[in-house]
């Protein structure tokens, strides 16, 4: 087994071009489990730990750009929490401090597990993935990047450079049901993001389908029933919340496994949709602005 240790993105791309089947190793929190269990026996490993530029973080024209090797621990930092609080909430539920120090947002996306903790949030935020490789540099919307269970749109030789996240003003919620409080894989998870400027709502679901996905129909149904103000959003008919939660749950396509049952997962999604909406949106008639 050959392990390559590039230090720049160009070196990494060159290494991947030379050995397109190489395993790309960032934090290793998913990859090493597979290696230890004998599910992967890579001939070549390209290690990203020394590529500093993959950890760059910036804000460009209202978009938060996170280098693909940004760790979960770095996602907890106040600058990120200030502009994308649901990402911080999701990162906080990942593993233990040791796992959060090693695992990366790019790894979470590339693994493309339906239970990946940041995925529902990034979907709800409308994030996209920046990729470089044989086909050149390109951006792919996250919902198009997640093509199947543990399958992404990355092609051999591709390297994920960054995740681009629109900064949205408004409430953001991330909720996760698991079998314990810490170090737990989600049984079901949900993110709800309100954009007060664009007057849209995004709802991402995790662990209830072959990939994390957007509950787009529920969001479309909800949006016209909301009353928008500059600093808040209201749902005049509180009864609509139950219908909304039912629509979100209807979008779920969960399975039975040893962590839970499909029936419980669907129920959990419904409860989380209802709770997230109640936290993000004021129920009843909108308050009249004070005069």
């Amino acid at each position: 087994m050959a392990v390559l240790l590039p230090t720049t993105i160009d070196e990494t791309l060159a290494a991947l071009a030379a050995t397109p089947a190489a395993l790309v190793l960032a934090g290793g929190t998913d990859v090493m489990v597979d290696v230890n269990e004998g599910r992967r026996r890579p001939e070549h490993v390209v290690c990203l730990r020394r590529v500093e530029t993959l950890r760059a973080r910036s804000v460009e024209n209202g978009t938060l750009v996170l280098g693909a090797a940004t760790t979960y621990t770095e996602l907890l930092e106040p600058e990120i929490a200030a502009v994308a609080p649901a990402i911080t909430d999701a990162a906080r539920t990942v593993g233990s401090p040791q796992i959060r120090n090693a695992g990366t947002i790019g790894g979470n996306l590339a693994t493309a597990s339906p239970a990946g903790d940041t995925l529902p949030v990034l979907l709800a935020l409308g994030a996209s993935v920046e990729i470089d490789g044989p086909a050149g540099r390109r951006r792919i919307a996250l919902q198009d990047f997640l093509v199947g269970p543990k399958r992404s749109a990355l092609e051999p030789g591709d390297l994920m450079i960054a995740v681009r996240i629109p900064i949205r003003r408004g409430p953001q919620e991330y909720l996760k049901v698991g079998t314990r409080n810490a170090m737990v894989i989600a049984v079901a998870s949900l993110a709800l993001v309100v954009d007060l400027d664009a007057r849209t709502v995004g709802i991402g679901l995790g662990s209830v389908g072959p990939t994390a996905f957007l509950a787009a129909a529920a969001a479309e149904w909800l949006t016209p029933r909301l009353v928008w103000a500059d600093d808040r959003v209201s749902l005049p008919q509180a009864a609509d919340a139950a219908t909304f939660a039912g629509l979100v749950a209807a979008a779920a396509q969960p399975i039975d496994d040893h962590r839970s049952t499909a029936r419980y997962r669907t129920h959990a999604i419904e409860v989380m949709a209802s709770r997230a909406l109640r936290r993000a949106v004021q129920f009843g008639a909108p308050h009249r602005a004070a005069t």
Binding site: V33, N36, Y264, V271
Partner: protein, 794 residues
């Protein structure tokens, strides 16, 4: 006159080494030229082994040898006890593999990495057979057989107690089928052994460093199995990172490691990985309990009928015997029960062999009793506390022999419960529960109560200790127990400080080395303080007696006039100026060519019976079924307390493991016998994030069976907490009509119960037991296993 150090909270002398990383575990030992072992384990639950092709593995770099069963020719493995001799286990599988994880071959290599790589190159041709995974289904007539020669998967069965209808005369009978699920033992350090073959220059031909509870047990079993004189085997347990019943002497892999080391004439070591540990180390619990309790309208218990299916796992692991032993002998619990009928049937299944886990058969007994008593209270509309009070054995009843023949030494069960309720504020909690129900809160309150009695030092009740006064005036203690976290170095030094006035920091502690300690039973079954502690007392008293004679000679006085001074010296009474130091007395003994030392074997006439009461307070989210443990109040009575800090430590750790079984942990297989929870991502072991700070208290009811008045505390927390928490969850939902939820009370199970209760579709709590119990009363030979099971001391 200073008071005794006994009964005071002395900080553990063991901790500085552990906390600063100076403590050595097996894997830390520098052993030059050591080879690394890795096992080739079966990926299927049940199969015939057609062939094992080791050629490629043997050719790999760094590989020294690869062995299958026939290459080593080892005798069959015997664990702590044999449940059924027809279910013999070969240390490496020969004709069949019988569980996922069964070892087929072993690699010895120069590095661990080389051994792991080579293990993957061994090609085993398996001819798969249908497996029997579920213990009840394994007992069905058409189940696939694990041992064809046995003709059944029933490894053992028995009937005990009354032959009559014990429920006759009841006004009400409540019935429940309860699962006490299989769980993993999960010590922080998994299994580990290092074997150095050959002459050590001190008369030993074999030196074994092993992570175990019972070094003498390992030496004795190796001697027995391999036909080697026991005095040629030296077994040392260095620091051991937890055991919890999972390291009771020789393991099958240990036998292989010794076989490889002797075959190659080179040192070897096997350090188990976590994932390997989760398939290889015996699991605990694993009972299905059919429980029927008959009562009068006022709650008075009339009789109890038990039919229990025990899971023995593959090769009839001795854990299967726990249903026949500890669960049976503790079947009466803390109650006046006029008649009990007990039947048990134990199945071999194509799963990891079963063994002991903290409590080992006693938590299963306490759990079924506390569950059925709550069901009866619910049925009769009596408060669960009143139900218990109406049936408790009373202090004047002791010593008390139960209807299953167990003699309890001492107890005051109601006092422990009263203390727990007082501390919990039971009436206020009930008031808050009513308010939350009236308001229709999302978070409902559940209050669970348990009362339990358990048995400690239940095996052959003897233990060795010696005390030697060293030339510097300090003392050396040697004991046959083998502490691995319990704090014996602290508690036994406290005893010597108390008896001989020697400061604790001048007391040396020797254990866990068969060349330093002539005999010992190891640590298990919460036996150590009551047996070894009293042996230390006995040895220290003999030393003092001899020291007084020596001092009398030196001071030309009568030995009866020699007393110990406040500063720990020996003097003629009333003449403090005459005082002699221990150093001086030890020198006099050495001059007389008879070192100042004594040995003592303490034998206890019977087991002791710790008891207690726990109150658990949970919140249940009725929307999601999530359960939060808000408070846990434990009153555990372990007789007279020697060091309250050590007792509280045992309570906290024990409670955590009991709560874990009630709420999170379960070892799960799919229908083909593939383990689904064989790593810590999938196995629901909790962390501190799940648990509140426990409220631990004690009552002190000394045992008359030993001088210290001590009973065991190692397992009480687990035994009391598990039923209290399960009862709390069910209590929280009783207003909806929920009567039972099996453990672990996961959000999904709790929510399903809520949903079914609201829909009026709750499943029945009872169903008829399987037909295997039609014949348990006439099973010949089952009594052998049951008697052996009485002596289990884990």
């Amino acid at each position: 006159m200073p008071g005794s150090i006994l009964g005071t909270a002395v900080v553990r002398v063991e901790d500085p080494d552990l906390l600063t990383g100076r403590a050595n575990f097996v894997d830390d030992l520098p052993i030059s030229g050591v080879l690394h072992l890795t096992f080739v384990r079966s990926p299927v639950a049940h199969a015939r082994v057609r062939s094992v092709d080791m050629a490629d593995a043997r050719a790999m770099p760094g590989v020294v040898a690869v062995f299958a069963a026939e290459d080593l020719g080892l005798p069959p493995y015997q664990g702590l006890m044999v449940l059924n001799p027809a279910c013999e286990r070969q240390p490496l599988a020969t004709d069949k593999v019988r569980f996922v994880g069964d070892a087929v071959a072993v690699i010895a290599a120069e590095s661990r990495a080389a051994a792991i790589d080579a293990a993957e190159a061994v090609v085993v041709d398996y001819d798969e057979l249908p497996p029997a995974i579920d213990p009840e289904r394994a007992l069905a007539p058409d189940a696939p057989l694990q041992f064809e020669a046995l003709g059944t998967n029933r490894a053992a069965a028995m009937h005990a107690g009354s032959d009559d209808d014990v429920l006759a005369g009841s006004d009400v009978v409540v019935r429940g089928r309860f699962e006490n699920q299989r769980i993993a033992v999960m010590p922080m350090e998994a299994s580990a052994i290092a074997v150095v073959p050959g002459d050590d220059g001190n008369g030993h031909d074999l030196t074994v460093y092993v992570s175990t509870q019972m070094p003498h047990g390992v030496a004795n079993k190796l001697s027995e199995t391999l036909g080697l004189p026991v005095e040629t085997i030296r077994v040392i347990a260095p620091h051991v990172g937890g055991a919890f019943g999972g390291k009771p002497g020789l393991a099958a892999e240990h036998l292989v490691a010794v076989g490889v080391a002797r075959h190659l004439g080179r040192p070897v070591k096997w350090i188990e990985t976590r994932s390997e540990n989760l398939v290889a180390m015996p699991h605990g619990r694993g009972q299905v309990q059919y429980v029927e309790l008959g009562c009068k309208h006022d709650g008075t218990i009339v009789g109890l009928r038990l039919r229990i299916v025990g899971d023995a796992g593959a090769y009839a692991g001795f854990g299967g015997a726990l249903a026949l032993g500890p669960t049976r002998i503790m079947a009466q619990g803390v109650y006046r029960i006029p008649a009990i009928s007990f039947d048990a049937a134990v199945a071999v299944t194509n799963t990891t062999p079963m063994g002991a886990f903290r409590g080992a058969g006693r938590p299963e007994a306490a759990a079924l009793l506390e569950r059925i008593v709550d069901l009866a209270a619910d049925e009769l509309d009596i408060d669960p506390v009143d139900m218990r009070r109406r049936n408790f054995l009373q202090p004047s009843d002791f010593p008390f022999t139960t209807v299953v023949g167990t003699t309890y030494d001492s107890g005051d069960y109601e006092a422990a419960l009263n203390e727990a309720l007082r501390h919990a504020g039971y009436d206020e909690l009930r008031a808050e529960q009513r308010q939350r129900r009236m308001r229709g809160d999302r978070w409902q309150l559940g209050i669970g109560v348990s009362a339990y009695v358990e048995v400690t030092a239940g095996g052959a009740g003897s233990e060795f200790a010696s005390v030697t006064i060293d030339t510097d005036g300090g003392a050396t203690i040697r004991v046959g127990t083998s502490a691995h976290g319990q704090g014996h170095a602290t508690s036994f030094a406290m005893i010597v400080a108390d008896r001989l006035g020697i400061a604790m920091d001048q007391v040396r502690f020797v254990q866990s080395d068969t060349s330093e300690v002539p005999r010992g039973g190891g640590t298990g079954g919460s036996r150590s303080l009551q047996l070894a502690g009293n042996a230390v007392v006995g040895a220290a008293d003999l030393v003092l007696e001899r020291a007084r004679q020596l001092a009398a000679q030196l001071l030309e006085a009568n030995p009866d006039d020699i007393v110990m001074t406040d500063d720990g010296r020996l003097a003629v009474a009333g003449v403090p100026a005459s005082a002699l130091s221990w150093e001086r007395v030890a020198a006099a003994a050495a001059d007389a060519n008879e070192p100042l030392a004594a040995e003592f074997d303490f034998r206890q006439e019977g087991a002791t019976f710790p008891f207690g009461a726990h109150v658990a307070v949970v919140e249940i989210d009725v929307d999601t079924g999530a359960v939060r443990l808000l408070r846990h109040i434990a009153v555990d009575d372990c007789g007279r307390i020697l060091n309250p800090l050590l007792v509280a430590g045992q309570q906290h750790g024990g409670i955590a493991q009991g709560v874990a079984q009630a709420l999170w942990e379960q070892y799960v297989y799919d229908e083909q016998g593939n383990p689904l929870t064989s790593n810590l991502a999938d196995y629901g072991m909790p962390s501190a994030a799940e648990l509140p700070s426990f409220e631990t208290l004690n009552t002190e009811t000394p045992t008359p069976l030993n001088g210290l008045g001590a009973k065991g505390i190692g397992e009480s927390g687990t035994i009391g907490s598990m039923p209290a928490v399960q009862n709390a969850v069910i209590d929280g939902l009783s207003y909806l009509g929920v009567r039972h939820i099996d453990m672990p009370c996961s959000p999904q199970r709790v929510w399903s119960a809520i949903r079914d209760a609201r829909a009026g579709t709750l499943p029945p709590v009872w169903r008829e037991p399987p037909p295997v119990f039609n014949s348990t009363r006439d099973t010949a030979g089952a009594g052998v296993a049951a008697e052996a099971a009485d002596d289990i001391d884990i």
